[in-house]
């Protein structure tokens, strides 16, 4: 399966060349579309957001009807498999008009020439988003490859009642976090502050991003891979040390055992993102109203920065025959107040658009956090501190290697630094195999 993502119509030698080529192709495409826009357009949209069909109905009955642009939702399963499916469809020239894509998947889609530059049609939307969020859809160029939909700023979740019981204070730095974990272990050997889990690479990527890591950057005509950089090493050593000492658990997340540990108070905190209430609702149903959310611990007292874990955007494909119409819809979906309210209500998303984060839809805290009335006010403040991210064209490879290497290291309580080295080497080797030039 993954092999098909590596084929490309033309082998990209460097990002500049690739981006330049796609920009040209996309510009050519959108010129043709200006005529197509006058007639009625029928668009298809691949998305996994629950209730998206209802949000799209608002468009089809409102602005879409006026502009004769009808959108049909084709619900998909989320995850890396969808990227493969989009690329396969693109190979056959049968891609949908619009796709939902996670931010880290965009470089892969761009370097395969699967998503179009919509700077001409949707560039105005820029003002609605935080700088760090918007930058993820431009990949640092003048092009715009997608409109941000939702974001996942990272936060620290903890059991308020149990923190009180064990006489713990909420850690504001990672040093305090480690102290808290050790103190708890001393108080009750059966209880862990949290676990280090290697089954969702997004968590580690977000933590590294908070520490200032830039995993993929470009240097002239070449890619530079910095997975093994000082910032990421700091993060890996920190968690590796905690696991080695037994200060925190080393069992993976999202398993029935993990659910049980959260539900019965055997794990009393979770480093997660703004969407955590949804996960906790199913994982730990008996603990509703007992949790609280706080900003992520910092690396130094003077800092105030967070990473992001999750989040996605709406992109227009190069296969679309109505790129202009598709870009109009994408901009409406992610910036129109009515659309964003519906997205929050039906799909439970946390919007990327800054004003929507403080709209009426987010006046009340999530039901699971009814005790923390300022949940969303705090969340929107944290969201503004999100560090910029730097994704590359083979995030999937880096992520898979992370799961294997760190999964084994966590299980054996062995050196996380070696696992990080494996991740760096495998990612670089894969990029070279794909035909990218990589600076050493």
């Amino acid at each position: 399966m993954p092999s098909i993502t590596r084929h490309r119509r033309f082998v990209a030698t460097a990002v500049a060349v690739t981006l330049g080529a796609t920009t040209l192709a996309a510009c050519g495409g959108s010129d043709d579309d200006s005529e197509a826009q006058s007639g009625p357009a029928k668009l298809t949209y691949w998305t996994w957001t629950p209730g998206m069909d209802k949000v799209v109905d608002l468009w089809n009955k409102g602005p879409g009807k006026e502009q004769q642009i009808t959108v049909t939702v084709k619900k998909q399963a989320s995850g890396d498999t969808l990227v493969t499916k989009i690329l396969t469809a693109h190979k056959a020239g049968k891609g949908p008009d619009l796709v939902q894509a996670e931010y880290q998947a965009l470089p892969t889609l761009v370097s395969n020439d699967a998503v179009a530059d919509i700077a001409g049609e949707a560039g105005d939307a820029k003002s609605k988003f935080a700088e760090g969020v918007w930058q993820q859809t431009t990949l640092g160029s003048d092009a715009v490859y997608a409109i941000p939909q939702d974001i996942g700023p990272m936060m620290f979740y903890y059991r308020e009642d149990l923190f009180k019981k064990y006489d713990l204070t909420v850690p504001t730095t990672w040093d305090e976090f480690a102290e808290t974990a050790r103190k708890l272990k001393k108080a009750d050997a059966d209880v862990d502050l949290t676990t280090f889990s290697a089954n969702d690479s997004g968590l580690f990527a977000g933590l590294a991003q908070q520490a200032g890591a830039k995993w993929w950057t470009t240097e002239g005509q070449k890619w530079k891979v910095g997975i093994d950089d000082a910032a990421t090493q700091k993060v890996a050593d920190f968690w590796g040390g905690l696991v080695e000492d037994g200060a925190i658990d080393n069992q993976p997340m999202y398993t029935p055992a993990w659910n049980k540990a959260l539900n019965t108070g055997k794990q009393i905190a979770w480093v997660s993102a703004v969407w955590a209430p949804g996960t906790l609702t199913t994982a730990a149903p008996d603990t509703a109203g007992k949790w609280k959310m706080a900003p992520l611990p910092q690396w130094s007292k003077s800092e105030d920065v967070t990473g992001s874990w999750g989040g996605s955007s709406t992109a227009v494909t190069t296969d679309s025959k109505n790129k202009g119409a598709a870009a109009k819809f994408a901009a409406w979906l992610n910036t129109d107040p009515d659309a964003l309210t519906a997205l929050a209500k039906e799909g439970g998303i946390y919007p990327a658009a800054t004003t929507a984060q403080t709209s009426d839809a987010f006046a009340e805290p999530p039901a699971f956090f009814s005790n923390q009335t300022d949940f969303y006010a705090t969340a929107s403040k944290i969201a503004t501190t999100t560090a910029p991210s730097a994704w590359g064209p083979n995030v999937n490879v880096a992520y898979t290697t992370f799961k294997d290497a760190f999964g084994a290291a966590a299980k054996n309580k062995s050196d996380f630094g070696a696992a990080l080295k494996t991740m760096q080497d495998t990612t670089v080797a894969d990029m070279k195999k794909q035909g990218f030039e990589v600076a050493e």
């Binding site: 629950p50 998909q76 399963a77 989320s78 499916k85 056959a92 993102a273 199913t282 999750g310 998303i349």
Partner: protein, 301 residues
């Protein structure tokens, strides 16, 4: 060699029935295989039992109560599943029945006719055709899914019911089984006799050979039905419209909805349980056709 050894030792065990030591000895011999079979049965049935019991649990009971302790939410799970997006689950179930039913039927028909031809007629290139088919048996269908998608997309058939049905029709394994079965079950004397009586080749096939091949074809049909019912990758690549999804794909989208909303574990588990029922029912109903071997006594030998 080994058969000789068995025959030598056999009387020692075989003479004992009826004597006083007989029954306990036999029981001791059967102990190990019985244990092994029991272990195998537990290994196979435990996950089924888990699904069965987990389907009765409500969302709050699923991870908090004892694993094999039934819950109280089965009726709610059922009605929630039926209500999910206006009953799209039952649409998936219908699609699966269509893909598996029609697909297995067509594939069995093609297998029967080609297997019969390969077994009865002698023509140039017969062995080559058969060898190519054998190679096809060894090729996992997963490898073919993407090329098949690219081909069908060229024919503008991607994202239609045909996209899933067409690639299923030719099943190398089905043809292989049919040929082996036809060679064993349809004696050439019977075909010769038909020809002597002036029956056309088509008539001989449909009236004489086909009834003899039924038990083999039932096997082919069941194999294909189960394979299509459980198929994931082919429909995953071919289909983008979730109204055309089979149950496997439907449950996958139900599970992978992104992290923004609570996961619908209870619905997925209940859905998985219901999806097994048609397969069990099919096996129970169709089982009796397997014992149709009476027809094979048409020729004395």
């Amino acid at each position: 060699m080994s058969s000789l050894a068995v025959r030598k030792t056999a009387p020692a065990a075989g003479t004992t029935p009826g004597t006083a030591q007989g029954p306990p000895l036999r029981r001791r011999i059967a102990l190990v295989p019985t244990l092994a079979l029991l272990l195998g049965a537990i290994y196979c049935l435990l996950p089924v039992a888990w699904v069965l019991i987990a389907a009765t649990k409500s969302g709050s009971e699923l991870f908090s109560t004892f694993t094999f302790f039934p819950g109280t939410g089965f009726a709610d799970n059922l009605s929630d599943l039926s209500a999910y997006r206006d009953g799209v689950y039952w649409k998936w179930m219908g699609n699966s029945a269509l893909y598996a039913g029609v697909g297995a039927l067509l594939s069995t028909a093609v297998s029967a006719i080609s297997g019969y031809a390969l077994a009865i007629y002698r023509f140039k290139g017969r062995e080559t055709v058969f060898n190519v088919l054998m190679a096809g048996v060894l090729m996992p269908p997963v490898i073919l899914a993407i090329p098949q998608y690219l081909l069908l997309a060229k024919a503008d058939l991607a994202d239609t019911y045909w996209a899933v049905l067409l690639p299923l029709i030719l099943s190398p394994y089905g043809v292989y089984l049919s040929r082996i079965y036809a060679a064993a079950a349809v004696p050439s004397d019977v075909v010769e006799a038909g020809r002597m009586d002036g029956a056309s080749e088509w008539r001989i096939f449909t009236r004489v050979a086909l009834p003899m091949m039924v038990p083999g074809l039932v096997t082919v049909f069941l194999f294909q039905f189960v394979a299509v019912w459980n198929n994931f990758l082919l429909p995953y690549i071919m289909l983008s419209d979730d109204e055309k999804f089979p149950i496997t794909l439907g449950l996958f989208t139900l599970l992978e909805q992104g992290s923004n909303t609570p996961a619908l574990y209870t619905l997925v588990i209940t859905g998985a349980l219901l999806a097994v029922i048609p397969l069990i029912a099919l096996f129970l109903v169709i089982q009796r056709f397997w014992s149709l071997d009476l027809l094979s006594g048409a020729v004395k030998s």
